[in-house]
Symmetry: C2
Subunit: 301 residues, 2 copies
């Protein structure tokens, strides 16, 4: 069985744009042409490939073909570029990559800039919780991921990057009010805490460590799913929380924030995993990611 | 029919924490007690209330009861606080609120801080695209929302807040490279553009306006779903994009960024919608939201 590449491109466009109409606009054809191509591809492979929801989504079989199409597009882009076709005449291409939130807010933007300096493709970044980016890689929705998963995903190469260092901080006034008698189970159960979202268990883990036991505490919680709003609320004294050290270092130095307990850290190790295929863009990206990740904490061997 | 409030609290905890285990930890009971309460509640109302997925989700019937439970908790919290019970003896309570991404990155953190000054409850913020926050309100997952929807959601009060002002910016070098012969359909089709995510159509809309026609352009796209990484990439010259004016004003003043075309804006009007119930916390929150929103652009009448 051979696949029709116009049909594959239509599938890719629908899944990435989320609708038949937008896919049509991007590919400069009518929505009905898109619909016919998807239908023809589904008939050919005998599988439902797209859920006609809003936004449209690939089925698990569809995702496998999307991944194939993206890998093919990258290889094609790569080949044309290697035989000297000018960047502006190359087909538009972007590498889908999953990045955890705190990386995207700290060291990863520099990787994007380093990548842009030598690559002709662009990046299609997806933000996810650090324990969930590997899932996007496994499902074929992305070709590379910054992840906490130390085991290589099938078909992927893995590079250890170092760790994001988290520190528990609050304002000096907050510390005086809640922790003047010590940071323990009693005070931690009363002190309000800022938590990013339901997937964020850093604070709860750290509190158990500070309390020295495994009883879950139930402090008042502020749920604030934005890094900027998070630091703002921390500085305004709404609660204590875990922040990536690079984001709060200058506040600690200026005394606007203090450590809950002096220099206690949680280091979260990160890995770069990417599809093994021979794509020039991926090599450039891997170099950019490992270069930019020098901002992370490296363990001594 | 009367409902058992311990069962309602169990339902609420499961939906908010996403699992029976975490709900159990929060309510200091065993997972099996949680499971029994949910089952009993489902038997009582004769409806499936929780999808046993990971994370666990409320069915649409379940969401109606979750909303009831949250409203009840707020009213109870309110009553106890009004009869003079000390803050630290009040039941933990937080108001679920949906906020669009750019508000959370600009003016909304100040609303959080203003709210914290007078309220005894905390906030449970959910971040969503500005065109989708109203949906969370409609589904009863939140009791208040910052939204672009000008029509009140059923049972809700609406307040016009003003508009977020967006400007199209790039570096002076980028402007010289791509737009030296003018900002038009031809140059806009070639100049790389930064887009937040699939729901973000601001750039495409603005490009059509600048090009003066409705043909969809197909420029190279960098997808960057983080405000900080977005501004970083804009400053590094990876592409042009639409930014909230408050985020880039100082870069424009310092000449690190320039307007694509002098002082052309897109104003996106925002509304605060909240449940009408008589809850003190909600009044405080509405005051905080309207005060903090002075940072938005107000139309002259």
């Amino acid at each position: 069985m051979r696949l029709d590449h116009a049909q594959l491109r239509a599938l890719c466009a629908v899944v990435r744009e989320g609708s038949f109409e937008r896919a049509a606009a991007v590919l400069h054809v009518t929505p009905s042409a898109i619909s016919q191509r998807i239908k023809a591809l589904e008939d050919r492979v005998g599988r439902l490939l797209v859920q006609r929801t809003s936004p449209a989504r690939a089925t698990s079989e569809g995702q496998i073909l999307v991944r194939l199409a993206e890998q093919t597009a990258l290889l094609e882009h790569d080949a044309l570029s290697r035989i000297g076709i000018d960047a502006e005449h190359l087909p538009r291409s972007s590498i889908p990559v999953a990045v955890n939130h705190d990386s995207l807010e700290t060291w990863f933007p520099e990787a994007t800039v380093l990548f842009a300096r030598s690559a002709t493709a662009s990046l299609d970044l997806h933000v996810e919780d650090q324990d969930h980016t590997a899932e996007l890689l496994r499902r074929g929705e992305v070709l590379g991921a910054v992840t906490t998963l130390a085991e290589p995903v099938q078909g992927c190469q893995i590079h250890a990057l170092g760790s994001i260092r988290y520190v528990a901080t609050c304002t000096p006034e907050f510390h005086a009010r809640y922790f003047s008698k010590g940071v323990n189970a009693g005070s931690l159960a009363n002190a309000p805490v800022l938590v990013f979202n339901r997937k964020d268990d850093l604070q709860a883990r750290h509190a158990r460590r500070l309390a020295g036991n495994d009883t879950p505490l139930q402090p008042p919680v502020w749920w604030i799913p934005s890094t900027r709003a998070f630091v703002h609320a921390n500085l305004a004294g709404l609660g204590w929380t875990m922040n990536p050290l690079p984001l709060v270092r200058r506040h600690l130095e200026a005394g606007r924030l203090v450590y809950l307990r002096q220099r206690v850290y949680e280091d979260v190790p990160l890995y770069w995993q990417h599809w093994k295929g021979d794509v020039q863009g991926m090599e450039i990206l891997t170099r950019a990611v490992t270069s930019a990740s020098v901002a992370l904490v490296r363990k001594r061997r």
